[in-house]
């Protein structure tokens, strides 16, 4: 009897060990699968509004020579459940990859039909990177020094043309879910390249004549007229302090509400926190 009991117990132990071993093998296989590498490219996009120019809600024909923007701490995530910016909180994910460095990019670079601006690439484990975060900070050096965004161009209306140089110094941390657009981005397959995009909607500041006046976008935008009012000697050269002192209180408050909404992922909303 004693031998039978021992035999049964040994059998049970072997079965259990085999089960654990099977699970460990499965875990190992998953790890091997996840360790297959691909390339993730981070891009910044001011869309056709920046590349081709547009007419503001108050009729100014705006074109851009340079739109400098400084980005830092760019991270991509695999989130489950998917991150939703409408929940207004930071991204929580076990799987995060980072693009090291700080980058000042010119969104107007390359002309009307230029490709989206490449910020950098990293090797990452294959997977669907369905969330992204980044900081928009002041440039430490270069043409845009001291500005998070520096917009250089010209605006025309009624045969009047005003060259402008507008600086923005507010810094923001952005969190966003998956890209919303013509294609699905962020799906990295082994040995291949996928991209994620940080999109910036400058029509949120100036409004868009092609959009109905009553549309929420135009209702929130301040247009170009408040900037035109800052012109001296036929040109606008306004840094953050000039804008704060030159705008009316109502215009400035509206302007402050608009700035954090510049960051998007394609047409998808991002959650922004001021730094």
């Amino acid at each position: 009897m004693k031998r039978k009991i021992v035999a049964v117990l040994l059998a049970l132990i072997l079965i259990t060990a085999a089960g654990c071993s099977s699970n460990d093998n499965q875990a190992q296989t998953e790890a091997e699968s996840n360790s297959q590498l691909g390339t993730l490219e981070f891009k910044a996009n001011g869309e056709d509004f920046v590349r081709q120019g547009f007419v503001s809600k108050d009729g100014w024909n705006i074109s851009f020579d340079h739109v400098y923007l400084t980005l830092s701490e760019i991270n991509a995530y695999i989130t489950d459940p998917p991150y939703e910016a409408e929940e207004h909180k930071a991204i929580e994910a076990d799987n995060m990859v980072s693009l090291p460095g700080t980058f000042t990019v010119n969104l107007a670079e390359g002309g009307e039909d230029a490709d989206t601006i490449s910020v950098g690439t990293i090797e990452v484990p294959a997977g669907f990177y369905n969330a992204i975060s980044w900081k928009m900070i002041q440039a430490a050096s270069g043409d845009a020094e001291g500005n998070t965004i520096l917009i250089i161009g010209s605006a025309s209306k009624d045969s009047k043309t005003i060259p402008f140089r507008i600086g923005i110094d507010k810094e923001y941390q952005y969190y966003a879910g998956e890209y919303v657009g013509n294609e699905r981005k962020g799906i990295v397959e082994p040995g291949s390249t996928a991209d994620l995009e940080m999109t910036f909607h400058f029509n949120h500041i100036f409004g868009d004549a092609d959009t109905p006046a009553e549309d929420g976008l135009n209702a929130a935008a301040i247009g170009f007229a408040p900037f035109a009012a800052l012109a001296q000697d036929g040109k606008i050269d306004a840094v953050a302090e000039d804008i704060e002192s030159g705008f009316s209180t109502e215009e400035y408050n509206k302007y402050l509400e608009i700035l954090p909404t510049l960051g998007h992922v394609g047409e998808g909303h991002a959650f922004a926190e001021e730094l």
Binding site: I5, L12, C20, G177, G181, T261, E267
Partner: protein, 146 residues
């Protein structure tokens, strides 16, 4: 400008159409079940996201659209997933530079969660506990025989 889209799943309808199979007059019935979600897209000021371009991605092919369509005048889109494809389905609404995403988990949630609930170490501890229980039971009956 807070100009994002709040996409709200308003109603979840689980429709079950049942009928029997009958032989009389050669009429044959079939039955099937399906579930349909009514997804409503609104701007954050409450205006319906009407006639928006809608793209649906299935969990087994995240790269390619499973279906495309458009919302109605009230911003509603009727979404009937293929229930043989469990997992997270993604539905994107887009219109004139505005867009948003809603993710809906379909089917087999419990099976998925139970398969990943315990680590190997936890499983080993549970197995040892079971074996220890068997030893105790065996010793109890052995003692009774004596």
């Amino acid at each position: 400008m807070k100009r994002y889209i709040s996409i709200v799943v308003l109603i979840f309808i689980f429709m079950v159409n049942l009928s029997g199979t009958a032989m009389a007059h050669g009429v044959v019935f079939e039955y099937h079940s399906s579930m349909t979600y009514i997804i409503t897209g609104n701007y954050d000021d409450g205006t319906p996201l009407s006639e928006a371009q809608v793209t649906v991605y299935a969990p087994d092919d995240p790269k390619n659209a499973w279906k495309t369509g458009s919302s109605d005048d009230e911003g509603k889109y009727f979404f009937t997933p293929d229930i043989s494809k469990p997992g997270i389905w993604t539905i994107q609404f887009r219109k004139a530079g505005h867009g948003g995403t809603v993710n809906i988990e379909v089917g087999e949630e419990s099976a998925v969660s139970s398969s990943s609930a315990y680590s190997s170490a936890q499983m080993a501890i549970m197995a040892i506990a079971v074996i220890w229980g068997l030893i105790g039971t065996a010793l109890y009956f052995k003692k009774e025989k004596k």
